[in-house]
C-alpha cells in the first residue's frame, strides 16, 4: 500500500474498531491508539520526506501513487505530497491527537462521538494527500458533513442553529467549488483530474475569470473570507471542545490550502487579474475580525473572531503572490492551527470547570488553576505574536514579504494589516486580564481544581509545537520554499 494511504487507512480502521467497541474505555483506547499511530506516521512521513529530499529527489510531489476509480470521467485516486502537505499532515496529526485527549470525558454517546470524529479525520487527511481534484473534493465533503452532527448533538448553546448555519454555508461554498472544479477540468481540456496534469495545460484566461472567483470563494468560505465568515463564530462557539479545535485548527486550513493549491495554482492569470478584489476582502477580514473580537463577551466568540482575523491574514498573504509572503501564509496556517487548538482546548477545560464562558463571570483564575492559566497566557502571547513563538515568525514573513511587493497599493494594504498586531494585543490582554488576573470573581470558583493528566498532555504537546516553530523556523521555511517554487513561478509568469 502506498505510504500516504496509511493516513486514510488508520482513521478508517479506527472507525471499524470504534464500531465494534462496547464501553467508553474501549472507545477511548482505540481512539488514543489510532491518534498516536497517526502521529507516529506523520512524524515518520516527515522524516522520510526529508530523507528523500536530501537524497536529491526534486520532484514536485513525492510518494505519488494513482489508481483510476471512475475511468469514465478520468477520476482517479492519485496522491502525493510536497513540503506543505507534509506540514499540514503533521498539523492535522497533532490536532487529532490532542483533540482525542481533550474529549476524554465526552458525554453522551462517546462511541458515536469518536466515530464521527474519526470520519472527520478521514476527510482531513484524505484532502491533504489528494492530488486529484475530484477525490480532493470528495474528502473535503467527508470532512464537512460530520461537523453537522458533532455540533448538533454534542454542542452547547444555540447548537442546532449553529450546526445548520455552518453546514449550509460551507455547503454553499462547496456548490461554487464544484462548479469551479468542473470549469477547471473542462476548461483545461486535460485528460485527467490530477492537479499536476491539469497544470501542464493552460486554461483560457477568459474562462479563468469566471472560475477563479468561484473556486476561490468556494474555498474561501472555509477560510473565513469576509463576508462569508459568520458561520465561524456561531459554529465554534457551539461546537464541543475537540471539534472546535479540529475545525479551527485544521478544517479552516483546508480553505487556505485549496485556495493556493487549486485556485491560484491552476488559474494564475485570473489570480493576478482579480487578486486585488480578494486582497481587499481579506484585508477587511484581518482588521474587522480583530476589532470585532475586542468587544465579545464569550471566550469562544473572542477566539472565533480572532480566527477570522488570523485566517484572513493567511489568504491575504497568499494573494501577495511572492515566496516570502506565501511562506508566511503557510506558517500562519500552522501557527494558527496549533494556537487556536490550544485556545479552544483551554477554553473547553475552563468551561468544564466554571460552566460559563462569559468573561464577566470569571476572574482571578490564575490563582485557582495555575497550569491552565499559564497555558492560556502562552497561547495569548503566541496569538499576539511574541517572538519565540510561532505567531511571530508567521506574521513577520507575511508582513516583510507583502511589503516587498512592487505595487504601492499592496504595500499600503500591508500597513493596514500591520495594525492588527495592536488590536490583537488589546483583545488578548483584555481577556487575560479579565479572567485570569484580578481578584476571584465568583467564590464558588475557589473550589475548582487544576488540570489532570489527560488535559495537561494536549496542552504541553501544543505549546511545545508552537515553541518549536517559533524558535527554529528554518526547517519548515525550507520545505515551504521548495514546495512553493512551482506555484510562485506560475504566478509570476502569468503576471508578465
Amino acid at each position: 500500500m502506498n505510504l500516504l494511504s496509511i493516513f486514510v487507512a488508520i482513521p478508517v480502521l479506527m472507525l471499524a474498531g470504534l464500531f465494534l467497541s462496547r464501553t467508553r474505555q474501549q472507545a477511548r483506547i482505540i481512539s488514543a491508539t489510532g491518534a498516536s499511530l497517526l502521529m507516529v506516521a506523520a512524524v515518520a512521513l516527515a522524516f522520510l520526506f526529508m530523507a528523500e529530499r536530501h537524497a536529491g529527489n526534486t520532484d514536485a510531489m513525492l510518494f505519488t501513487a494513482s489508481a483510476q476509480w471512475f475511468p469514465a470521467w478520468n477520476i482517479g485516486y492519485s496522491v502525493g505530497v510536497d513540503g506543505i502537505s507534509v506540514l499540514m499532515i503533521l498539523l492535522s496529526a497533532f490536532i487529532v491527537f490532542t483533540g482525542i485527549f481533550t474529549s476524554w470525558n465526552i458525554d453522551p454517546l462517546p462511541k458515536e462521538y469518536f466515530m464521527w470524529f474519526c470520519l472527520l479525520s478521514v476527510g482531513v487527511f484524505g484532502f491533504f494527500i489528494s492530488l486529484d481534484l475530484f477525490t480532493m473534493f470528495m474528502f473535503y465533503e467527508v470532512a464537512l458533513i460530520p461537523m453537522y452532527l458533532l455540533i448538533g448533538v454534542w454542542g452547547s448553546g444555540k447548537k442546532e442553529y449553529a450546526a445548520m448555519k455552518l453546514t449550509l454555508m460551507l455547503m454553499g461554498g462547496s456548490a461554487l467549488l464544484m462548479l469551479g472544479i468542473l470549469g477547471i477540468y473542462f476548461g483545461s481540456g486535460a485528460t485527467s483530474m490530477d492537479i499536476m496534469d491539469i497544470a501542464q495545460s493552460t486554461i483560457p484566461t477568459a474562462l479563468q475569470k469566471y472560475f477563479f472567483p468561484l473556486t476561490f470563494i468556494g474555498f474561501g468560505v472555509l477560510g473565513a473570507l469576509f463576508p462569508f465568515h459568520t458561520w465561524s463564530p456561531d459554529g465554534h462557539a457551539s461546537a464541543p471542545t475537540a471539534v472546535s479545535m479540529l475545525h479551527a485548527g485544521v478544517l479552516m486550513k483546508l480553505g487556505g490550502y485549496g485556495c493556493f493549491r487549486v485556485a491560484m495554482f491552476l488559474m494564475p492569470e485570473a489570480a493576478n487579474e482579480l487578486g486585488w478584489i480578494f486582497l481587499i476582502l481579506t484585508g477587511i477580514s484581518v482588521v474587522y475580525g480583530a476589532f470585532s473580537a475586542c468587544v465579545q463577551k464569550d471566550l469562544k466568540y473572542i477566539n472565533a473572531y480572532s480566527s477570522v482575523s488570523h485566517c484572513g491574514l493567511v489568504l491575504f498573504a497568499l494573494l501577495m503572490m511572492n515566496t516570502t509572503a506565501m511562506t508566511g501564509a503557510i506558517m500562519q496556517m500552522l501557527s494558527h492551527g496549533l494556537m487556536t487548538a490550544l485556545f479552544f482546548a483551554l477554553i473547553g477545560m475552563i468551561y468544564g470547570r466554571t460552566h460559563t464562558r462569559d468573561i464577566r463571570e470569571m476572574g482571578g483564575l490564575m490563582k485557582i488553576m495555575p497550569f491552565l492559566g499559564v497555558g492560556y497566557v502562552i497561547a495569548g502571547l503566541a496569538s499576539l505574536g511574541l517572538p519565540g513563538l510561532s505567531g511571530f515568525v508567521a506574521e513577520m514573513n507575511v508582513f516583510v514579504g507583502s511589503f516587498q511587493h512592487a505595487d504601492t497599493f499592496h504595500r499600503v494594504l500591508t500597513l493596514i494589516a500591520v495594525t492588527s498586531i495592536v488590536i490583537t494585543a488589546v483583545y488578548i490582554l483584555r481577556v487575560v486580564g479579565k479572567i485570569l488576573y484580578g481578584p476571584v470573581q465568583n467564590p464558588a470558583h475557589l473550589k475548582l481544581t487544576d488540570a489532570v493528566w489527560f488535559e495537561r498532555l494536549p496542552v504541553v504537546v501544543l505549546i511545545l509545537a508552537i515553541a518549536a516553530i517559533g524558535l527554529y523556523p528554518g526547517w519548515i521555511a525550507d520545505w515551504i520554499h521548495t514546495a512553493l517554487e512551482p506555484i510562485v513561478s506560475r504566478l509570476t509568469l502569468a503576471a508578465l
Binding site: S292, G364, V418, I421, G433
Partner: protein, 643 residues
Amino acid sequence: MEYTLWILILPLLGFLSLGLLGTRLKGKSAGYIGTALLGLTALLSYFTAWQYFSMDRVDGIRQALTPVNWTWMRFTEFLHIDLGILLDPISVMMLVVISTVSLMVHIYSLGYMDGEKGFQRYYAFLGLFTFSMCGLVVATNIFQMYIFWELVGVSSYLLIGFYYTKPEAVSASKKAFIVTRFADMFFLMGILLLSYFTKTFDFGLLCDPANQSIFASAAGKTFLGGAVLSWAMALIFIGAAGKSAMFPLHIWLPDAMEGPTPVSALIHAATMVVAGVYLVARLFPVYFFFTPEVLHGIAYVAAFTALYAAIVACVQTDIKRVLAFSTISQIGFMLVALGVSSMGTVEANGLESHEGLGYMASMFHLFTHAMFKALLFLGAGAIIHTVHSNEMSRMGGLRKQMPITHITFLVACLAIAGIPPFSGFFSKDEILTATFMFKPWLGVVMTFIAALTAFYMFRLYYNIFWGKPAQHEHPLHEAPKNMTGPLVFLALVTVVAGFIPFGKFVSSTGATYIIHLDMKVAITSVVIALISILIAWKFYCKGTSTVPAKMAGFFGPLYTAAKHRFYIDEVYQFITHKIIFRCVSQPLAWFDRHVIDGILNGIGWITCRGSLAFRWMQTGQLQSYALLIILGALILLCISLFC
C-alpha cells in the same frame, strides 16, 4: 569573543530553570540561583568591557566586532533576520549598565521580596528581562532588535503585573503593553519601509558612512509630501518614543509603578526605558546624514517631554510617580542631546567645535542616570518597605531611622540636580553645552528644566527625610543589609562616575573625544540648581511653610492640571473607550451579528417561505397527485396536438 554569548545564555537559563521548577524551589533558593547566575553575567560583561576597550584601535577608531552572527530566518535573498552579538562602544557600555543594575536589583530583591508569594516567579521574570535586554543591546540588525524589543515589552508586562490579584497592577500592565505595542507597530512599519529601500536589516551596513549607496534607491521618493526615508526614520522613532516614554506615549510609565519597586528601578528607570535612546543612538548615522530634520524633530519632542514631565513631577505626591516623571524628563534630556548632536570629534586644537558632543553626552547621561535613578528607586523601595505607603504625607523625618538610605538618597538627589562633583553634573552639563551650541533658546529651556529637576528632587528629599514625621503604628527601621548594600554600591558609583573619561570610550565616530567643561554653562546651571534647592529647602524642610499651598492656589488651574498630568490619561481613556470601543468595535460587532448574519438569515427565511409556497404540491394525498398527473398529461397532450 564568542564567550559573550554566555551573557545572554545565563539569564535565560535562570528564567527557564526557575520558571519550570517553580514552586518546587523552597525558601529563597530561587533568589540565590538567579543572583548567582546574574553575578556570573555581570562578571562576563565586565570582562568583555575590559577586553573590548583595551583592544587596539584602527586609525584611532574603535572597531565594532561581531563575534557571533547566525542567520535565523531568511525572508528573501537580501533580507534575513540574524541573531548575533555586536560589540561596539555603546553596546558594551549598555551591557555593563544592564548587568550592574540587574545584579544590584537581584541582590536587593532578596531582602525586598522576601516572603512574597511568587518569589521564584519574580526571579524567573527578572532573568527573562535581563536576557531580553542584553539581546536588545547586542543586536546586529534592526530586526533582531525588534525581536528583543518585543521580548522586553513582555517581560515588562509580566513584571508590572506581578501582583496580578491587584486590579491596578493588572490594568497598568495591560496599558504598558498596549501603548508600547502601539508604538512598536510604527517601529515595524518603519523597519518595513527602510528595508524595502535599503534591502538590508544589518546595522553594520546601515550605519557605515562609507556604504551609503544602499540609500540611493530611496532618493527622491516621497510619500504624502515627505521623503520616504524621513517617514521610515520618523516611524522608527515613534517606536523608540513608545519605549522611552516620550510625550504623548509616556502615559504607561507612571502607571507601571504598580510593579514591585526593584522592578521599577531596573526596567522603568535604568534599562528598558532607555532602549529608545539606544535605538536612536544606534541609527544615529542614518538620522544624521539622511534625515537631519527628523533628528531635530526628535530634539524638540524630547525637550517638550522633558519640560512637561518636570512640571508634572513638581506636584505629584506619590514618591514613585515623582521618580517616574523624573525618569521621563531625564530621558528627554538624553534624546535632546542626541537630537542636537552632529557626528565627529573635536580636533586637538579646535576647542571651539563641539561636533559629536551631544552624542557622547547623551550616552554619558544614560550611564550616570541609570546608576543614580536606580539608586533613587531602590532607596524609595527601602522607604516604602518600611512605611508601607507610597504617599509623601506618610513619610517625613526619616533621616534618623534610615541613615544609610538617607545618605545614599541624598547623593542621588545631588547627582540628578547637577551638583558637582556628582556624576549627574558632568553629563548634564555636557548636554546643556551641546544644546546651547545648537540653539541658544533651547539651551535656556533645558537649563530651566534642570532647575525644575533640582526643585522637585529636593522637594521629594525634604518631604521624605525632613519635615514633619507622620504617625506610624509600628517602629520604623533601616532596611536589611542585602538592601542597603546595593544602595551603598550605587552611591559610590554615582560619586565617582563623573570622573570617568567617557569620551575615551564612547563617541559618535569611535575616535577619542576630549571633554571640556564649558565654565559659563557649568556655573550658571550649578547656581540655578542651588537656588532651586534653596527654594525647596525653604518650602519643605520644616514642613510648616504655607508657601507651597499659596503657590498652588495662585497657579490654580495650572496646578490642578499638572496634578492630573494635564489630563492626557483622560484623553486616552476617551479615545480608547469612547472612540475605538464604542464607535469602531461595537458597531462592527453589531454589523456582523445583524447585517451580515441578517442577510444570511434572510436568505434562509426566503428559502423557507419559498418552500412553503410550493408545499401544496407535495401533500402526500394520492388523489391530488393523480389530479396533477392527469392535468399534466392533458397539458402535454394539448401542446403536442396544437403545436
